[in-house]
Symmetry: C2
Subunit: 556 residues, 2 copies
């Protein structure tokens, strides 16, 4: 399997989509000088190629294993993780006061992209640690921050997010795990959490579980949820009462152990409150919003990895003829259609996700408009980039033909690994609901109107202009629609607005002096062929819910 980090495109997107120079102009991100960025991107590219990419297939074929002593990672992973810690790759985006490098979130995203393109399942571990760091940095007490952040920053300790329970998936408010005051300021945690990625492993000395639970007499639903910090190993070195009961047998992402965790089997699971009581849902969103961007980034990873593999295969595989001579399949028009689509969609997903990540940094710098832009872009980046990851991984199999269905080529792994990304961190349907439910109405619709206005200022391609107009009309209609009608249209609308955003950012890149030929051709393909497809969703986005509720549930 070939692997090379997409550093050239990363840098181009940072320069011309994110406009990193504007962010680096602030004191807060003064560290992000062009030479530092270059060193970081090139360094992680080399590290990922040398240490993580070689473990890709073993991660899939061997996978993480549950044992009575906890989860064991495949051979090579602990060493490769240590190399990651020693290389300082975990510290990129962490504030300098906690031992981090203080670089922008978007630079950390680029680092995670490269790690995940090399080995997506493995990179999920640092990705989750980033979420835990965010939560503690925003909501932890000074003591908690001083105790946990330095070691989470290096990756010596890793983090998890414990939300889901068997009866509480998309409906987080239905969770039942309890947290009872122990009288010493700590809480006794009791309950079972499922789908906990890297909930146990042998990569690090400790795991910092962030756990949503209910205190006694808490109100029902999401308002009664608090966030707790539950270390696997207590600070005094004794094991906490947290047990990994099993790991899931999944279609892919085998190197990421998806754990069932049991807290407090022996009534001795100790946790500390993070932030105020009942502040759990707010803290969760701090973790989750940035985690959503990082899952969108996994869409970029799947797409980039699948594209590299398919291009290599298509250049190599001779089949049929062109101009009377035996030809590699890359010469055939329909294979080129697939490959160019893969490249264009990968670039589009990267532009969309990086753009949103850049808004995190702008918001950190106090830009209120960027904060709103981030809110509206987060569901698009999560859902659409993961949809792209899946589409591109499927095209990658198709380019390989029969060999794509045989596991040894690796094309199937990208496809299997990618399929979880539209599901976790809020299903893409939940993202669409978030877009039409909360985000369209932000600032009385001002956030949406601003986005449309910004796109319209730059857009030139006729189909893109039409799509922006269509998005505006649909969005305005949905702002006044009832909940069923809004939700009925939510997914087609999310796709339309995502493609419009991608088209806007692709066109912007193609206009740059010095944009290379691949970028210009990919942008042309995107604007001329992908954007018009999204216009085909207008009818669905304008339909009300009546057809969906024309049948009783039993008739399905």
């Amino acid at each position: 399997m070939p692997f090379a980090a997409a550093t050239a495109d990363q840098r181009f997107v940072l320069d011309h989509v994110v406009r990193l120079d504007e962010i680096a102009a602030a004191d807060r991100f003064a560290a992000a000088s062009p030479d530092v960025i270059e060193a970081v991107l090139d360094g992680v590219a080399q590290f990922a190629a040398g240490e993580w990419a070689p473990l890709l297939r073993a991660g899939d074929t061997i996978g993480a294993k549950w044992t009575p002593d906890g989860v064991k990672m495949p051979a090579g992973f602990p060493e490769a993780y240590r190399a990651y810690v020693e290389g300082g790759w975990g510290t990129i985006g962490v504030d300098e006061q906690w031992g981090g490098q203080g670089l922008p979130f978007v630079v950390q995203a680029a680092v995670l992209e490269t790690l995940g393109t090399a080995n997506m399942a493995f990179a999920l571990c640092p990705t989750l640690t980033v979420g835990a760091i965010e939560a503690l940095a925003h909501h932890g007490s000074p003591e908690q921050q001083a105790t946990y952040l330095p070691r989470l920053a290096t990756g010596e300790w890793t983090g998890t997010m414990n939300l889901t329970e068997p009866q509480a998936g998309s409906d987080v408010g239905a969770l039942r795990t309890t947290a009872t005051p122990r009288g010493d300021g700590t809480f006794a945690i009791k309950g079972t959490k499922i789908f906990i990625s890297f909930g146990d492993h042998d990569l690090a000395d400790n795991i910092v579980h962030l756990v949503l639970a209910r205190t006694p007499d808490a109100p029902a639903g999401t308002r009664g949820i608090s966030l707790f910090l539950v270390p696997k190993v207590r600070l005094d070195g004794t094991p906490n009462d947290v047990r990994v009961v099993s790991i899931e047998h999944k279609m892919g992402l085998h190197a990421s152990p998806t754990c069932v965790l049991s807290f407090g089997d022996h009534d001795d699971c100790r946790g500390e409150l993070i932030g105020p009581e009942f502040g759990g849902i707010r803290a969760m969103f701090t973790m989750m919003n940035n985690a959503r961007l990082n899952v969108g980034l996994q869409g970029v990873q799947s797409a980039e990895a699948a594209t590299q593999a398919a291009v290599a295969y298509a250049r190599d595989r001779v089949q049929g003829a062109r101009d009377g001579r035996a030809a590699a399949i890359v010469e055939h028009a329909d294979v080129r259609r697939m490959l160019l689509r893969m490249k264009a969609q990968t670039m589009a997903a990267r532009a969309l996700v990086y753009y949103a990540c850049g808004q995190v940094d702008r918001a950190t710098l106090g830009d209120a408009r960027a904060k709103e832009r981030l809110e509206i872009m987060t569901p698009l980046a999560k859902a659409h980039a993961t949809d792209i990851g899946n589409e591109v991984a499927s095209l990658g199999i198709q380019v390989h033909g029969g060999m794509g269905y045989v596991e040894e080529t690796g094309a199937a792994q990208f496809f299997r690994d990618a399929r979880i990304t539209p599901i976790y961190e809020g299903t893409n349907g939940i993202q669409a609901a978030d877009l039409v439910g909360r985000k369209l109405g932000l600032s009385n619709g001002g956030a949406f109107a601003d986005l449309i206005a910004d796109m319209r200022t730059e857009a030139q391609a006729p189909a893109l202009v039409r799509l922006i107009d269509a998005c505006e009309a649909v969005g305005r209609r949905l702002q006044g629609a009832n909940a069923d009608d809004r939700h009925a249209a939510s997914y087609p609308f999310l796709t339309m607005l995502s493609v419009a955003s991608c088209g806007w950012l692709m066109e912007r890149q193609a206009r740059v002096d010095g944009a290379d030929r691949v970028k210009k051709v990919a942008a042309a393909f995107y604007l001329e062929q992908v954007v018009p497809e999204a216009l085909g969703l207008e009818a669905a986005a304008n339909a009300d819910a009546s057809v969906l509720y024309a049948l009783p549930a039993e008739a399905f």
Copy 2:
């Protein structure tokens, strides 16, 4: 995993899309009386539910195994296969002179659909036998027919198709297997074939391999190919020199052993010519065209099975609230959007494939127009129905949320199994090339013009009328275009024409007196939401190849 054959919809489609009464009015198909059809559909439904559906998961988790003594199927499969033979389910579509029931091809398709919805990998075995029967019935000598057809008809012996070699996949003409006259009228076969589905197994006493090979001094390319019959066990009971070297480790379809077969390792592999020397490619197309319809039918199987599982899960899984009360997820609008799309797409695929299968029977009855219609519909049925199978299986996972990614629910199996169908029997890209290369030009474009005219006569929904117009315009343009431009547009055009065909047939069904509410709602959804999406492909279908060739191969 729930399973119930879709007999009600099958019957409805046979009545109103296929118009089976017209076919059964001919003496040749007099056996196809309404009560016989009902007995067949209900009978195979009961058989599949009782005998084949229960083996679905073992087929996936255990799978077919290679051993030094040949391929062993998982426990239960040999018995379930014997029950299939004893039930006479293999004989449905075979001519009465060979012990068959002489029912129409489309009725056999309905039987295969039910078997494959219960267990797609298993049903591939009878599907391949059907292809061997077709080839022998059309091209075999009377002796060959008398010897092989009765036992292939019952399924006591099974059939295979041996086309692919490592260097000869989509480019069949590149094959190198040799057939040298042995002086006694038979040929010594020598070569290696790959991707041979059910190339070995322990279900039947013998396997009849149909093998494409080159005689000495044969011309290069497809013109020099002949078809040979190579039994696993010779008629005298001695083993032939055919060896299964390995089976593939595939992403899915684990109960279908995909074999590497070595013919003539000991220079003692004996085969007999079927049809004339160099008649191989013609005979192959006899097998392959109907096999393509049967692969399209696998798209229906994937879609039907995935839909049933998703509907059952969505009715059962309580999450969130509606109207202030806890609700099963089937009540949520975006879940309904997914489920209704799954149902509508499944019905559309069934209508498309059955319609094409009905043309096989009309052509058998001497209807020349039906023969042309069949030719133009075959690539649509194969490619678009398998694309639907994949889309619906993916939606099935999404409806299951995180549980869809866990193998135990079975949703992932449908998704993994389905992924081969756009690849084998000619990749969907090859189907698109066939559509724009050969089929658009049939009878100087008359076959295409007839299809457009038939659709236009019935179509009423505004978006459908627009789509038919768009298809006509694109098709006419492509008839005069150069090869690169034709191929560049081939896939979007194939999808547009397929959706137009499905829309036409869905609308026809919705108009029927007595169409049930599910059909009417599914048709409305299809016409109002799916058809407009295909209009979004018009820009791609009207683009020439220039953007695809704007980059050199090395730039990808």
